[in-house]
Amino acid sequence: TGGHTTEILRLLSCLSESYSPRHYVLADSDKMSEAKIRSFEQKRAETFSESQFSLDRIPRSREVRQSWVSSVLTTLYSILYSLPLTYKRKPDLILCNGPGTCVPVCLSAFLLGLLRIKRTIIVYVESICRVETLSLSGKILYYFSDYFIVQWPDLKKKYPKSVYLGRLV
């Protein structure tokens, strides 16, 4: 969604073409991110002509203010939905920064790793908005990610297994 998309595109801005092809996963209800992504990729293609990307949509795992109980159910549904997608793409790297959408995708990849089908490196970058507390996605994925990056020193203190590189976006 909006802010997350802007942030993640900034994170991608300095990556070399080794990080290709890029598969973007969006929530089905997200109306604005697709345009931003296409615009980013179009600009990128001006420098790297071989650049490739794709877009997939999954059901939104949780609406703002959705109740706890129904969130667990909708997230489970999203994980099941994500499994075939993750299985098809078999990514070497999953990069995410916190929207609810990323939890089922990461958990499905984690599962495929446990089943020895594909070992994906999961890198989570907590949003720059998070100065003192982690998002719900962050709290969950802190335990499932290979690298958990925070952008403010307070969070590094609270979550010692995290990586602090300073402000990235």
């Binding site: 909006g2 802010g3 802007t6 942030e7 900034r10 994170l11 991608l12 801005s13 300095c14 990556l15 070399s16 080794s18 990080y19 109306k31 604005m32 345009a35 931003k36 615009s39 703002v64 203010r65 790297l93 490196i121 890198v123 970058v125 949003s127 720059i128 908005c129 998070r130 100065v131 003192e132 507390t133 998002s135 690298y147 990056i149 952008q151 403010w152 990586v163 590189l165 300073g166 402000r167 990235l168 976006v169």
Partner: protein, 104 residues
């Protein structure tokens, strides 16, 4: 405005920006070097937006208030006291990933 692709043009010509505390809005505005007053939405549950606004305020980069104190803030503001906002460094992220994948 909701569906405008980019506010860049509007931002460029603004003398002062009053915005909600969404990261995108704050960052875009501060990067253009425009003075920013951040208005916090008291009604959004968990209100984590407050964290960034508070930090930016601590760093002296923005003024902040809520809807009810906006007028008062506008009346008493001193924009020249605002400090510039240093840009983030996505190249550090790229460098980190390269090391993870042995690409350096």
């Amino acid at each position: 405005f909701r569906f405008k692709d980019s506010l860049a043009e509007d931002l460029q010509s603004a003398a002062l920006v009053i915005s909600h505390a969404g990261a995108g809005s704050c960052l875009e505005t501060l990067e253009k070097g425009k003075p920013l007053i951040v208005v916090i939405n008291d009604k959004l549950m968990d209100n984590h937006q407050l964290e960034l606004a508070k930090q930016l305020h601590r760093d002296g980069c923005v003024l902040y208030c809520n809807c009810s104190t906006l007028v008062e803030t506008l009346q008493s503001m001193d924009l020249s006291a605002l400090k510039p906002f240093p840009p983030g460094q996505p190249e550090k992220f790229a460098s980190f990933l390269d090391k993870v994948f042995g690409l350096q």
